[in-house]
């Protein structure tokens, strides 16, 4: 069951540059993964041990589940999926490129200021969308 993906090299580079910059600005961030919408890792940066490929697949699944949960709950289009765990948060945001839709997964500790994280993440997403 060989799987192959062709990520546009310039896009992968832009995504890496953008999340490297975000990583330096976000207090409490543990990991950032940019995933293709179908679950392949495009770029990643982490200060913890983490399998970016696995995170990318999970980000894809849970983002898609978020879409149908929002729809079935008559809440309109999904915007953000936020998971609060014992030690922190996992936040999933769409990177809505028409040619190559992606998901940004942010893993952050409990002391992260969520509003600030979302604000800075959206700047990063805008940069990747414009690249």
């Amino acid at each position: 069951m060989d799987e192959q993906i062709k990520i546009p090299p310039a896009l992968a580079q832009s995504a890496q540059t953008a999340i490297d910059s975000l990583f330096g600005k976000l207090a409490g961030v543990k990991a950032l993964v940019v995933a293709s919408i179908d679950g392949f890792s495009v770029a990643s940066r982490a200060s913890i041990e983490l399998d970016a490929n696995k995170v990318a697949a999970m980000a894809s699944s849970f983002s898609a589940l978020g879409v149908v949960v929002a729809e079935e709950s008559h809440m309109g289009a999904k915007k953000v999926v936020t998971l609060e765990a014992e030690s922190g948060y996992v936040i999933l945001l769409d990177i809505a490129r028409a040619d190559f839709p992606m998901v940004l997964s942010i893993t952050a500790s409990s002391d992260t200021v969520l509003a600030q994280t979302l604000y800075l993440a959206r700047e990063t997403i805008a940069a990747i969308q414009a690249a």
């Binding site: 069951m1 060989d2 799987e3 192959q4 993906i5 062709k6 990520i7 293709s36 919408i37 179908d38 679950g39 392949f40 490929n53 696995k54 990318a56 697949a57 999970m58 894809s60 699944s61 849970f62 898609a64 589940l65 879409v67 149908v68 079935e72 190559f100 839709p101």
Partner: protein, 177 residues
């Protein structure tokens, strides 16, 4: 009246989403997104789950879940297998090595297969007759898995309902034993 959770798995493009859409009496829930895997020409692929419901003639209700097909979503297989009472493995006979595909799913879902009913439904046998159903039977016998193998076109509602009914019969036989 009983309520059963059953699971449909198989490789990308084997027809899991199609099978559930063919028999669901509610609009199916689907999590299909753009496919970027260049090894498969499909435009979209399931990344979360499919879901449908079916009430059988006797009043029994089925909740039918479809898995993503690709190995990278194996974590969803474990999540979705919880509480399932039956498994349908769809095999695409047009793929390069469908027996290896089946072997992989038999290994991944071994725990579920051991405790629940299981049916192997092989698609595209008319255009791709090899391997034959006997070859599938040999593989299953070698692995000690006692489960039916049937050819099926999952676009056909009657054929999918037939698979589901066979699965329930197998589950009932297992629980009665």
């Amino acid at each position: 009246m009983n309520e059963y959770k059953i699971l449909v798995t198989g490789t990308m493009g084997a027809g899991k989403t199609t099978a559930i859409a063919a028999i669901s009496e509610v609009p199916p829930i689907m999590t299909d997104v753009q496919n970027n895997d260049t090894s498969n020409a499909k435009l979209t692929t399931t990344v979360g789950l499919d879901y449908g419901e079916l009430t059988l003639d006797g009043g029994d209700k089925l909740r039918i879940y479809g898995t993503p097909g690709q190995e990278r979503f194996a974590f969803m297989w474990k999540v979705l297998a919880k509480g399932a009472l039956g498994l349908i493995i769809l095999v695409d006979n047009s793929r390069p090595d469908p027996l290896a595909d089946l072997n992989s799913y038999l290994n991944s879902f071994a725990e579920l297969i051991a405790r629940a009913g299981c049916i192997i439904a092989v698609g595209r046998t008319e255009s791709h007759p090899h391997p034959s159903l006997d070859h599938y039977g040999e593989l299953l016998a070698n692995k000690g898995v006692n489960t039916p193998v049937i050819p099926a076109d999952v676009r056909n509602q009657d054929e999918v309902i037939n698979i589901v009914e066979l699965l329930l019969m197998q589950f009932e036989a297992k629980t009665a034993a």
